[in-house]
């Protein structure tokens, strides 16, 4: 009896040291049936190493990919392939990196039936994750974040659904769908315009097209909401101007937000660096609202 108790203690100490020294988080990839789009959408879930043993409920960070990307991006395109696993272990959160299609832009298209990614991400996916895992089933424990098109998605969805998310983050986000403000070749801008036209129809206001779908057009709602915001952009990024514009608008209307400019371009080494700061920000939000001990 005594011996087995000692063995138990030893195992405990061993487990403790194992926990602190290894990153063995688990990745599930779920096939989620989207009712709104009538198709299956994939979403990898990265669970912290102690998920099975802890019995506790975890905050969830939804991490969105960029244009031309997929659900695989965040797990395959970082130089440090274990980065997300390190982050979930370090900050004791669950990460979900759902598919948003290469050009879906995370809104509900009034024209294209199988491009309803606002409904998918903010309703179907959240519901599925909260049913399947031990999550904090409340806005206090739910955060959304992404890069480029996904940065737009995070700000757009969090601003439209402040009851769902306590914080939102954008890295090199497409903060304005007006391609005239992007530093890109004309043919690329044209192809994006075509995509927006396909999804949303012709712009109502040609001077500032699709502003109602852009973060820069939602700043009054951001002010009214209590969603903590962070966004960053590289100096040499094609999206630097729309990000500076959003920062200016939020300063002008007095909406608290963290805004960072740093070296870098619209590419993975930048996002690999930026995501660590975004998670530190989210960690502080979760600590402050009591979702983490």
């Amino acid at each position: 009896m005594m011996k087995s108790f000692i063995k138990y203690m030893l195992a405990g100490i061993f487990a403790l040291s194992l926990y602190s020294s290894s990153f063995a988080a688990r990745v599930d990839t779920l096939d989620i049936q989207s009712q709104s789009m009538n198709k299956i959408v994939k979403a990898p879930i990265i669970l912290p190493d102690n998920y099975q043993s802890s019995g506790k409920n975890y905050p969830v960070i939804y991490l969105l990919h960029g244009g031309q990307g997929s659900y695989k991006d965040w797990l395959s395109k970082l130089k440090d392939k274990a980065l997300l696993q390190k982050l979930v272990d370090m900050y004791q959160v669950i990460i979900v990196t759902p598919d948003g299609s290469p050009t879906g832009y995370y809104f509900d298209s009034p024209l294209v039936k199988d491009s309803q990614y606002e409904t998918f991400i903010s309703k179907e996916l959240v519901q599925k994750i909260d049913e399947t895992y031990r999550t904090i089933k409340d806005k206090k424990g739910r955060i959304i974040c992404g890069l480029s098109m996904g940065g737009h998605g995070a700000m757009y969805l969090a601003t439209k659904h402040p009851d769902l998310y306590c914080a939102a983050g954008s890295m090199s986000g497409v903060m304005d769908l007006n391609t005239a403000l992007w530093k890109v070749p004309a043919d690329f801008a044209k192809s994006r315009d075509k995509n927006f036209d396909r999804l949303l129809g012709p712009p109502k206001d040609t001077a500032s097209p699709y502003r109602e779908y852009s973060a820069v057009g939602m700043v009054d709602q951001m002010k009214a909401n209590d969603v903590k915001l962070i966004f960053d952009c590289g100096f040499d990024d094609i999206m630097i101007e729309p990000n500076r514009e959003l920062h200016k608008l939020l300063l002008a209307n007095g909406t608290p937000h963290d805004y960072i400019e740093r070296p870098g371009k619209h590419e993975w080494p930048y996002w690999e660096n930026a995501v660590a700061y975004q998670f530190l920000f989210f960690h502080k939000v979760l600590l402050a609202n009591g979702s983490l001990q």
Binding site: Y259, E261, R262
Partner: protein, 291 residues
């Protein structure tokens, strides 16, 4: 058998309570230049005593009207600096900068020679007495307000000493025309600045050589990674924006953050962990961080 059990129980308990057990020492570091000893606080990570490794060092400077132990006493979370030391396995040295030295060698006050003190006396003392990484590869410097100025000023002038530098709410330009101050604050600060930098006389540019904002080209030449944080309600917002603009214009790599908040300890408590994350990435890349 019972004894063994107690031992394990004690060991388990010990494990739990010593997860964060950084140690704080207060020492005297003599300044030959000023013929005076000043106090400094040093935080050692828990791992320091348990290993034989050489540790990187962060020099963390206090602000105007402050002293060496501000960072330990004034943050809302009194464990902030100690926890960061443990989290990143870094020694954190908080030297004295007096209430208004500006960390320069004063041209008018021989008893205020803090550039020499920090760079020529404190750093050698620390390297001679502790297991540090004794090169710029393992040395970083930051501070708040006057200390943010000090960190950028000293690192810009002596880039061979550090591998990165930061500023939080830095008082980057002693020319106060761009500061948002009440007349009382302006008059109070003018009295202090004159004691250190000399009379401003009638020339608003007489402090120009001391302005960190004017060191943007030097910073570009140095190529030292820089990180700057400023609150959008801080009276020092404008000089920080001006340095950021100049560094963007001349293509000097730097991380620049504007966050909610004013010139307060809440802001600095929030900002410091981001700066540590920044420094840690560089120390890791330099191969000097202790795992």
């Amino acid at each position: 058998m019972k004894k063994v059990l107690y031992f394990f129980a004690a060991a388990t308990l010990f494990c739990n309570v010593t997860v964060y057990a950084s140690k704080v020492d207060t020492i005297n570091i003599l300044s030959v230049a000023m013929n005076k000893a000043y106090k400094a606080a040093i935080v050692f990570p828990d791992a320091y005593a348990k290993s034989k490794a050489n540790f990187p060092v962060l020099y963390l400077l206090h602000g105007g009207y402050g002293h060496f132990n501000d960072w330990l006493l004034k943050t809302p979370d009194k464990m902030l600096v100690r926890n960061l030391s443990d989290q990143y396995n870094i020694i954190i040295v908080m030297p004295e900068g007096e209430t208004f030295s500006y960390y320069i060698d004063s041209p008018v006050d021989r008893s205020s020679q803090f550039e020499t003190y920090i760079t020529g006396e404190v750093i050698p003392y620390i390297d001679n007495n502790y297991r540090t990484v004794k090169s710029n590869k393992g040395r970083v410097i930051t501070g708040l307000s006057m200390g943010g100025y000090g960190a950028l000023y000293l690192s810009a002038r002596r880039p061979g000493l550090f591998c990165a530098a930061g500023s939080m709410s830095g008082a980057l330009d002693p020319n106060m025309s761009t500061w948002k101050l009440t007349p009382e604050m302006f008059n109070g600060l003018t009295k202090e600045l004159v004691k250190i930098f000399g009379p401003e006389t009638f020339d608003p540019d007489s402090y120009a050589p001391y302005s960190v904002v004017n060191l943007a080209d030097q910073m570009k030449m140095n190529g030292l990674p820089l990180v700057m944080d400023i609150g959008v309600d801080d009276f020092l917002l404008e000089p920080n924006r001006e340095l950021h603009r100049r560094l963007v214009y001349n293509h000097t790599p730097h991380d620049y953050s504007e966050r909610p908040g004013g010139h307060t300890w809440d802001f600095w408590q929030n900002a410091l962990p981001y700066q540590l994350l920044f420094f840690n990435k560089i120390l890791k890349a330099n191969g000097v961080s202790v795992q």
